[in-house]
Each structure stands twice: as structure tokens, then as C-alpha cells.
Subunit: 397 residues, 3 copies
């Protein structure tokens, strides 16, 4: 039995019917079976590509990408995923500014989607906005389909919102599954999601929130650490705690990076902005108070500079489980002495884990492709099973 | 007999041989049979997609898009049409400024078209320029093919010029055909193409010109209304009058929106710039007279502000045929109280017709695809007939 | 026997195994057989397209383009080549500035290449940088493949570096092969690669270097002419001299355009920047010495203005072999009285050769496609032989 068959057989044991004709906003809205189906299908797609078997299921079709923030990595991951399935990417450039909501969103969503099978959106800059915007677009697309404007309802994939970053955190988790040899091996493993110092202060909260919102689903001992004032959204912490109880794991907080790293199987040190300050910034933007924004940024940088010691260095890495803890990052990292004077991680730590970090990232396009397939195909198994290099070569080698 | 077969059978009754290896600049250069073939093929393509049957006829090939003006809707419609047929879009960005003509146009046209099957151009900003530019490109491409530079002659599709906007007005007309239940049902129907107030004053004339240049072909009672000074190009009015006589309809003018709306089956209220002023602006630009342009714009805004009462509101809509006149717009509309304080249409009117307006727009990509097919395929019937979801699935559902 | 079969039969006689899984940086790193295989396969691909036979070998796959300089022609040639083979182009926009090297290059190269089959790079602005950068990217991609990040190793195609411009010069050479009726006909033909005046002074050296580095491979009498101070890189001159000896041709220098044109079968008059000054400019940029750069540019323009008489005019063209010398240019040319007051070539000369120049350019996309195929396919003959319009139509005509 080939690896592909074994992946597809595993898929048969899972209930993922709820993903069909649905969207992907937040991992915590998905059942465990649905998440596992996504990982399994992603692995199957990767195996197909490795064996030069085409996973193209679309003869034509558009994928609309809407990045409301600069992006190279996510853009290429989305483009790769869509290309793998046969979809052509068309970028919708709205600039980086906030655009009007309401009528405009509904109209634009329909006007760009006449032949769209998927719409991928990254909108993570303003607390309380990104997820709301994505749902507004998705609702408009469902309405457009129901009213007969669209021949199909495009599925929406969250490529990062103010709440969650599912394509990233699922890449992180799939990396852990492969690293530890199966999702069941994650049970009892300690993962430290900790804040880390970076000279820039305003990075999105979606990664730490997404990590505690996802890793608590699989029985892991999830520890969150950050300096005072760098809280993430309280509702995500609550859901992490509830999920941890339900999955037989734990969700706790630590006061320092050192405490969090102690005995950890996995560490994820990363800079993020303080939630309360981000909310305040959104409100200042709304009031058009440019002076207030500048003042706030000055305060934040000063506050930030107090925590330069939150760096993942060799000394701390030695305190992880048997000194062998796995270092994760969503990239790009702020590497001390390389990309900045002092940053999130020591250069030697980063360099040691570099191949592992690249592999962590490499899961993303396959996960996006799996999300799309599970939303578009009623029977993904029927569509992919039985493909061979003879019947479906990706290219004539 | 499936709907697709019935469309294809209708196509068999029409003479569209003249479209093969030809371009699409202006609707009034096409025979009625050619226009009907375009509508029919567009409907067939839509039906194919609805049934998940691929209309992909190209294994590879480029579609070059050249937008000399910002555009989201037309860009996505063109991208959708090309994708449906299997062509990849490559944008040629010349900026929004006027580029040099002559040698440069001829050379650039050839250099981007080595593998191009279609070139779509939007150039509508300057009176006397857009259509001329498109013909210059088309001539260069024919020459490049004749000289052996190009293996194929790309077909040119007018995505909006200073004269006409065929992909828009044919979407409008196809919407009417569907609304009234057939092209023969249009005979005797009254359509009011009227100017409407918008806080911006310089919108292209291609929509009103295109509407009177197209709707007069099918026996409709076409009425054109606008404030004094907002004349469209006289040669288009003349051709509208001639076409109306030939098709057994009429082309008349009304002095007010109220007069035009009275008893109308269809209303199309839309802002446009005064033709004479646009000609003057082009000439000022040519002289590099920035001060003159600013002065002219000031005058135009003042003139414009005198006509705020040209708004399609509920009171006027009630005067249409049985109070049930159909409201058309090419979108985006300036909606009073929504996108501006006072605009082309009252919010309640727009909202009531919103689904209908989206459907009107949804014809555009299929019409563009039909234009391309009729220009590229000697026998479109032979290529599309007999396709089923089993033999040509758009995607493996 | 069809033309396609005759091309493929010729390919069978050549040894191009070394191109498989390799990159294309410089023509002088390739064996003569490898260059001839590239020309032959390019011609076969063109013949396939002319006969409406698809050369698509990829069902899916990305082509990453990285232009560190504005480009329309090369961009469209690369897009055309990739499209012909079934690859979708995704642009990586790094701006026109110099980006950081080292960690960033390695990481970015991997992050954009998860599904990339080819990476095309144009980086020609700074002496000592472009080729080095391309090799850094290629090394990172090989490492990413070896480490398991990438499922395939993308092949790198040099779309212009500081050293060479192989896709251009091979288009030039293939034009000569077609013009003279075979590569063996080039033996003993005199080609004059000469500097020409242009009002802009900083054009890359990659074309003259690439021309003398390639044309000396095939027994031609290659003459290089330029005003004092406009030397190209000495190592390229040395290799041109060595290659000329080995191929039974010659490489000499002439002091004037007139001397170079005398009796020439082919002339290639083109502006370029002085090598030493470009090296100095790179160094000033590195020091952030904007004043020094401005001062240098002033000097260069003054120096440049002394050589307005280096123009390919009718008088000089008459001195070529029987007055029938072939005029080459990589386009766009600075045409006297057309694109500038005084430039590289007289208008009447350019116009007479215009169709020939367009055909010269038209080889480029096919050559790029051939480079990709030879790097990606272990057996390109097996993949392409036997394709007919019935089995592999490019489009349903």
C-alpha cells in the first residue's frame, strides 16, 4: 500500500462533511476530525507532488487573493496551493489602508467573484476588524450565490486575521506531528508560547492566539508567557483553557521566558503587540488622531525596550527538555546580530534550527490546498484516489 | 434537449463568420447576427459553467491586459473570461499617463504578444484617443503576424474606449433579454438613457454612447436625456437615429429626467462628462496647460452642481411603466446618502434593484469569453458541442 | 518527415545531459552541444506552436520571476515561455533597490519556491552583484531541496546579470542562424559589436559582453569597438579571445564604428556604460555617497556627449559587406529623431530592419522555454516526440 493510499484510508475514518461548502475562519470553529482531515489531506497532497502525481482537480477557475498588508510568504503559499489544484490567482489590491465597509464590500466581493472558487484574505492590522471583514465578505458571497449572481459560492480561507492565523498554526502543528511521529504523540508534550523582544513593537497577535487556540486541542501542556501588558485577547485565553480541560492537557501562564522554557518539548518565542494598546490604536485611527497614534507608538517602543532580555538564547534552550527542545517560528524572525542588534532569537539557535524552520513553513501551501479541497469537493477521496503518475503526471519528466 | 444544445442550435441559425480572426471595437460595426451570436454563445458558456462543464479550449496561451485607467471590475471580468477559456492573463502596466504613440506602440504591441491570443485594452480618458489607440495596436499586431514575428494574430477586445464600452452595454442588453424573455420582446420597449448627478464630474461618455448605439438596434424606443451642455458625440447620436429607423424603433431626446422616465420600461440614469469640455480638456493636456485644466475642472464642477435634482428617486421611479420600470447601472453607482451626500440614485431604489444590478454585471465575463471564442475559433460549435460533465468536467466535484 | 521530427532528430545527435537538473547562468559555461540543443529545441517548440500543437508538459507548477529592474520585454518573454510549458508566473517584487543578502536571500528563496519549477532573475544594475546574487539563490534552492524543504529543485534562468544576458544573445544568435541558413554558415562571418551613442549613459554591459562571449564560439570574426573609456570587463574579453582561437574564428578590436562596420556581415551598435565607472558607482552606492554618485553621473554624461558621432547611419551601413550588412539590436533602440534627438541608429536604418529586429526578439520566449525544458526533463525528446495536433492541440481551433 502506497503512502498516498494510507493517507486516504485515514481520511476515510474521519468525519469532515461539515467542511464541504464551508469557509475556514478559525481553527476553534472546526471539529478535531475536521482538523485531522486537513492535516491528512495536506500530507497526501504533498506525497502526490513528491511522486510527480498531479493533484489538479480544476480545469479552470480563479482564486482571488486580498492582502490588506504586505506579504511575500503567505502570498506565495496561497499562490502555490491554488496552482497545485489548477486555480489561477488574481490579486485584488486595495492598498494597505482601511477600506469602506458596507455596500462597497458586498458589491466588490461579488464583482470579483464571477468565476472565483476561493477567496483568500489577510487582514490582521486592526483589532476587531479582520475577522469581521472576512465574515462580511463571506456573507456577501453566499448572498450573491443565492441571488443567482454567482454560479458557485467561493470558499473563504483566512490567511490571517486579528483573531487567528490558521494556515500558519496548522503548519506549525503539522510540523510537530511529523517531528514527534503522530498526533497522539503530542499528548503531554509541553509547548511554551512566549513573547520575545523585537525592535519593532506592533506585530499581530494572531500567531500567539492561534497557537494557544490550536495546541490546546491535542492534550499538550500549553504555557503562555509574556511581560506584563502584553496580554492577548481574554476570550482566546478562556477558550484555550476550556479546550485544554476537554483534551486532557493544560493551559497555564508563566511569568518569564525562563520559566516557560523549563523542560519544554517545544518553544515558540515571538514578538507581539499588547492587545489593549492595539485596541487603543484602532480607536485612535478611527478618530483620525494621528498625533495620538504617534504618541502611543512612542510609549509602546519605550515599554518594549524594557524587555530586551526576552531572547531565545543558548542558555535558555539548554533548560528545555534534555536541552533538546524544538524551536518554532512563523518567520521571518528577528535574529540578534543578523537582522537586528538584539532580537527574538540568538543567531546560533536560529541557525541550528534553520532547516527545521523551513520545513515547518513548507507545510503551509499543502494545508491551504487541503482547506480548499475539503470546502469545494464533496468527495475528495473519490477525486484523488487511484491517481498514478501514469494517469495523472504533474509533469512529463 | 439540454439548454446547451438549444443555445448551440440557435447559434447555427446565425451568420457570424465575419467575427473570425477579427477584433471587437464597437457594437455598431457588428451585424445584428454577430451581436446575437455573442449573446447566445455567452449564455451557452454560462450554462456550461453552471453544469460544471469546462469551456477550456486553450491548453496554453496568454491574454494581455492593458488598462490605461484604474479598474477592478473590468479587470476581473477579463481575467475571468480568459481563465474560463484556459488563457493566462499578463498585465501590461503603462501607468495611467498617456504614452507615446507611433514606433513605441508598434514595438510594444509586438514584444508582449509572442504568445498572446487576445489583447484587452481599456483606454477611455481622452476624447479622440482611446479607439484610435486600440486600432493602432490592432494594426501593429496584424503587421507583426504578416511579417512572421507572431505565430498567431491576437484578437483585440475593447474593454472601454472613448467611443464605446461594448462589454458593458452588451451585459446590459443581455440582462434586458433575460428580463423580458427574449430579444424579440425588446421591440417597442422604452429605455431612458439619462444623465444623473454625481459629485464627480468627469466620467467617460462611453456608456451613454454605447447604450444609444446598441439599444437602437433592436426596435426599442430609446430616449436620451441630459442637462444642456452634456451632449454626447454627435456622430453617435446620428448613428443611433439611423439605427432606430432601420430597426423599427425610435431615438428621441427628452429635456429632463422626469420626461424620460415617464412610462419607461427601463431607466439607465448615470453621470457623464460634457463631450465638448472633454475635448477641451484633451487639448489643454496636449498643450501641457495645467492651469487651464484646473480652471476647466472648476467650471465643470460649478456647472455640474446646478443639476443635483437629476437623481433617480422613488418619486421618479413611480412614473415609469406601471411603476415597475427596470433600473440599470454599470456600477459602481453614486448612491445618495451611502457613497456620497447626493448622487445618481436614491438609496432605496438602488437597494431594491441590487440583486438585479449584480446579475446585470455578471453577464460581462461570459460576453468577453464569447467575443474571444468567436474571434479565435473557426468553428466554435464544433469545439463546444458534445461536451459533458463526464468528458469535460470543470472540476472534479 | 515533418520539421518537428527533423528538429528532434538533430537533438538526438547532441549531448545535453549536463543541462538536466542544472541552471543557466552564462553561455560560456555551456558546451557547444548544449547551446546547439537549446537552439534546436527552441525551434522545435516554435514549430509546434505554429502547428497548434501544445508543448505543455506541466499540469501545474509555478515560475517565480524576480526582476530587480523594470522590464516589459523580458517579463513577457519569460511569462510566455512559462505559459507555453504550463507554468504559472508569480512575480516576486523586491523593488528596484538592492536587498539584503545572506540570511534573507536564503530564506526568501526557499519560502517562494515550495511549488516553483523555475526561478528567473534579472539583476544587472551593479557590477559584481547580479551573477553573484543569482548563484546565491541557486545555492539556497539546492540546499532547500537537499534538506527536504522543497519537493523539487527549481532551475534558475539568468534573465540578465552584470556578466551576461544569455536569453538575449541566444535570440540574437538564433536569428543569425536562421538568417544565414545554419550555424555552420556563421564561420568566417564578420560581426561588429560596437558601442553607440545614446543620451542616457548607464546601460548594462551584459549585452556586449554576452555577444562577444557567445559569437566567438562559432568561428565568427568578432570585432569589438568603443570609444576610449568604454571597456567591458577584461575577463570577458580574455575568454572571447580564447574561444575565438578554439573555434577557428577571431576576436579583434577596432578604434571606431567606421572601422568595425567595414565589410561586416552583421553589426550590433549599442550604447553601454563604461565598466570602470560602473564599478566606481557600485562602490559609491555601497558607501551611501549620493553626492559622489551625482558627481560621477555628471562626468559620465559629459564624457558620453563627446561621442555623438557613434551612430549607425546609412553612410556607415553602406560600408558593410556589399552594403547588405544585417543590423541587430536588443531593443528598445534609441532612434535619432524618433525616440531622441541623436541616438544609436538613424531612423531610416532602424525602419528598414524593423521586421528583422522583431523576429530577432521573437526567438527569446522559445529559448527560455527550451532552457527550462532541458533543465527539468530528463528526456525532452520522449516527452515531445509524437505530439500531433490531434493528440495535443494547443487550442481547439
Amino acid at each position: 500500500m502506497s503512502n498516498i493510499d494510507s493517507y486516504l484510508n485515514r481520511l476515510r475514518t474521519l468525519d469532515f462533511a461539515g467542511m464541504y461548502d464551508n469557509d475556514f475562519f478559525l481553527t476553534w470553529e472546526k471539529t478535531t476530525d475536521e482538523l485531522l482531515a486537513t492535516f491528512t489531506l495536506a500530507d497526501a497532497l504533498r506525497e502526490l507532488r513528491t511522486r510527480n502525481i498531479s493533484a489538479r482537480v480544476f480545469a479552470s477557475g480563479l482564486a482571488v487573493s486580498l492582502f490588506r498588508d504586505n506579504s511575500t510568504r503567505t502570498r506565495f503559499s496561497f499562490a502555490s496551493a491554488c496552482n497545485l489544484l489548477g486555480l489561477a490567482v488574481q490579486d485584488l489590491d486595495e492598498g494597505t489602508s482601511q477600506i469602506a465597509h458596507g455596500e462597497t464590500v458586498r458589491e466588490t466581493a461579488n464583482m470579483v467573484s464571477f468565476m472565483a472558487d476561493v477567496v483568500g484574505i489577510r487582514d490582521d492590522m486592526y483589532i476587531g476588524r479582520g475577522d469581521a471583514y472576512q465574515r462580511e465578505v463571506a456573507a456577501a458571497l453566499r448572498e450573491g450565490f443565492d441571488e443567482g449572481t454567482l454560479e458557485q459560492r467561493p470558499t473563504l480561507v483566512n490567511l490571517q486575521s486579528d483573531l487567528d492565523h490558521p494556515t500558519q498554526t496548522m503548519a506549525d502543528l503539522n510540523h510537530l506531528i511529523h517531528h514527534f511521529g503522530g498526533v497522539e504523540q503530542l499528548r503531554g508534550k509541553k509547548i511554551a508560547m512566549t513573547w520575545a523582544y523585537s525592535p519593532s513593537y506592533g506585530k499581530p497577535l494572531s500567531v500567539p492566539q492561534g497557537v494557544i487556540g490550536l495546541m490546546t486541542r491535542f492534550g499538550m501542556e500549553v504555557v503562555l508567557a509574556h511581560p506584563e501588558g502584553y496580554e492577548v485577547m481574554p476570550e482566546v485565553e478562556e477558550l484555550a483553557a476550556r479546550q485544554a480541560r476537554e483534551s486532557g492537557g493544560s493551559f497555564t501562564r508563566a511569568a518569564s521566558m525562563a520559566e516557560a522554557f523549563e523542560g519544554a518539548d517545544v518553544v515558540y518565542p515571538k514578538s507581539w503587540a499588547p492587545f489593549a494598546a492595539m485596541k487603543q490604536r484602532t480607536s485612535l485611527y478611527d478618530q483620525g488622531d494621528a498625533g495620538g497614534v504617534a504618541e502611543l507608538e512612542k510609549e509602546l517602543l519605550a515599554q518594549n525596550a524594557l524587555h530586551r532580555d526576552w531572547e531565545a538564547n543558548e542558555t535558555l534552550m539548554e533548560t528545555t527538555k534534555a536541552g533538546q527542545g524544538l524551536y518554532l517560528h512563523c518567520l521571518p524572525a528577528d535574529i540578534s546580530g543578523v537582522s537586528c542588534a538584539a532580537g527574538e532569537v540568538a543567531a546560533s539557535v536560529f541557525e541550528r534550527f534553520r532547516p527545521s524552520l523551513y520545513q515547518e513553513a513548507s507545510h503551509k501551501p499543502y494545508l491551504i490546498a487541503a482547506m480548499i479541497l475539503l470546502a469545494k469537493l464533496e468527495d475528495p477521496l473519490g477525486s484523488l484516489a487511484g491517481r498514478t503518475v501514469a494517469t495523472h503526471p504533474r509533469f512529463a519528466a
